[in-house]
């Protein structure tokens, strides 16, 4: 388990234990945290699980695979700290990760 904190657009903070090996997207969906649509189910094909990663975590994350940046072009208000949460696999290194969920996904 790793603690992941999701800040939603309504200024609420949700800290949940997410099983290692699941993605940050799955952690949100399974805990009913609003704002992550994940329409394609985690296939890096839709950009509706877009999150902003807290700056200090950016370089601790796995590198973007080919295609993630292409999908982020489609995301709602992408920024430099944008990631697709379906591509972030929870591990011990990510214990304590904080992400902000955008106001909407499309």
């Amino acid at each position: 388990m790793a603690k992941i904190t999701y800040h939603t657009h309504d200024n609420k903070t949700h800290t949940v234990d997410v099983q290692k090996g699941l993605t940050v997207m799955e952690g949100a969906v399974q805990n009913d945290i609003p704002g992550i649509d994940a329409d394609c189910g985690g296939g890096m094909a839709c950009a509706t699980c877009h999150v902003y990663v807290k700056e200090q975590w950016l370089n601790k994350l796995p590198q973007k695979e080919d295609g993630e940046e292409d999908m982020l072009d489609m995301a709602f208000e992408p920024k430099n700290n944008s990631r697709l949460s379906c591509q972030l696999i929870v591990s011990d290194e990510l214990d304590g990760l904080e992400v902000n969920i955008p106001s909407k996904q499309g």
Partner: protein, 338 residues
């Protein structure tokens, strides 16, 4: 009014295979889809990406899968209504009257919603004022390119649509292409072409910029774009085009009185009927305990929903279970020549 047994909403793999199953058991159907071609997410999101988990097909692309499914239902000659979104359902005694966005009307015994995650709509600019100009000087698709002649056009996006239109419109318009990063997702040849045109001064490329705001009274006069580092530029623009791909919206399905669970429709697993008699839901749009969003699950759901439709389409007949290997009736429907 088009009278048929079943209306299928959505021409993705699940909808297409359900049509096949309806044809095999001797029912007629017509198929409506909001996109301009069949295939759904397979064609719209990943036409060239290989799929590895279709039973007995070790590897095929979304496009190949779609073509094979279309081939498989060809003998039935079912009619497709593309570029149409189903807007209204009305119960009429034991049947349903259905109306689409383009005014096409159907009179059917049952409805199968195979709508994926809803209908595809263009993704829009996050900037609020853009709504005001939508359809007059701001567009997400191009219907008539002649209006852009000799005008200044600001195109946003980094995929093939943005690149292709930037290249094409640069022949007869002043084009600004604005993209949020240096890399592009479009074809490499188009990226090279855009860079050449930029070097020759035939197009202005702004990378690491995104829209900040749009200005204008009735029509757009200029747009402000903001660099990653904070610099803001104002560029004169008669038209703004945004190409950010498509997003799926549940749309009018929300208003049909079905039991919903987030963005999905609840069904039973016996025949995939929804909480409303005569309306079935299959594929990614349906939910039930244990639901897997796989194409193969959609096929199974479609086969059962087709049989569920039978009692509404032919209430006085009994459906017998048959195999296509031995059923004369099924083979006749498929046009098998012996």
């Amino acid at each position: 009014m088009n009278k048929t047994d079943v209306l299928i909403i959505g021409a993705g793999p699940t909808g297409l295979f359900c049509a096949h199953q309806l044809g095999i058991i001797g029912l007629s159907c017509e198929i409506v889809d909001n996109l301009d071609k069949a295939g759904g997410q397979c064609i719209e999101l990943y036409p060239d990406k290989p799929i590895y988990d279709i039973p007995a097909v070790p590897e095929c692309t979304g496009e190949e899968l779609t073509n094979n499914l279309l081939q498989q239902i060809k003998p039935f000659n079912f009619k497709f209504y593309l570029n149409e979104r189903v807007e209204e359902l009305k119960k009429n005694q034991n049947r349903w009257n259905v109306k689409t966005s383009g005014g096409v009307e159907f009179d059917v015994a049952a409805i199968v919603i195979a709508g994926g995650v809803g209908s595809f709509e263009p993704r829009k600019f996050p900037v609020k004022e853009c709504e005001k100009f939508e359809g007059n000087s701001l567009f997400y698709s191009i219907k008539d390119k002649s209006i852009f002649k000799d005008k200044t056009i600001s195109i946003f996006g980094g995929g093939d649509s943005a690149l292709d239109w930037a290249i094409e419109l640069s022949n007869s318009s002043k084009v600004n292409l604005i993209h949020r990063r240096d890399g592009f997702s479009g074809a490499e040849a188009s990226v090279q072409k855009v860079k050449e045109l930029n070097d020759q001064g035939k197009l202005n490329l702004y990378t690491k910029f995104q829209m900040d705001s749009v200005m204008g009274d009735k029509k757009i006069e200029s747009v402000k774009i903001k660099h990653d580092e904070g610099e803001i530029k104002e560029i004169k623009s008669d038209y703004v085009l945004g190409f950010f791909g498509l997003i799926m919206q549940l749309g009018p399905i929300l208003n049909w009185g079905l039991n919903l669970n987030k963005k999905t429709v609840e069904v039973n697993t016996e025949n995939f009927e929804t909480s409303v008699n005569g309306i079935f839901a299959i594929g990614d749009i349906c939910s039930y305990p244990g639901k897997l969003k796989l194409i193969l699950s959609g096929f199974h759901e479609g086969a059962l929903a087709a049989r569920g439709c039978f009692k509404y389409a032919k209430p006085d007949e009994k459906l017998r279970f048959e195999f296509t290997t031995t059923s004369k009736a099924a083979q006749e429907r498929l046009g098998v020549k012996k």
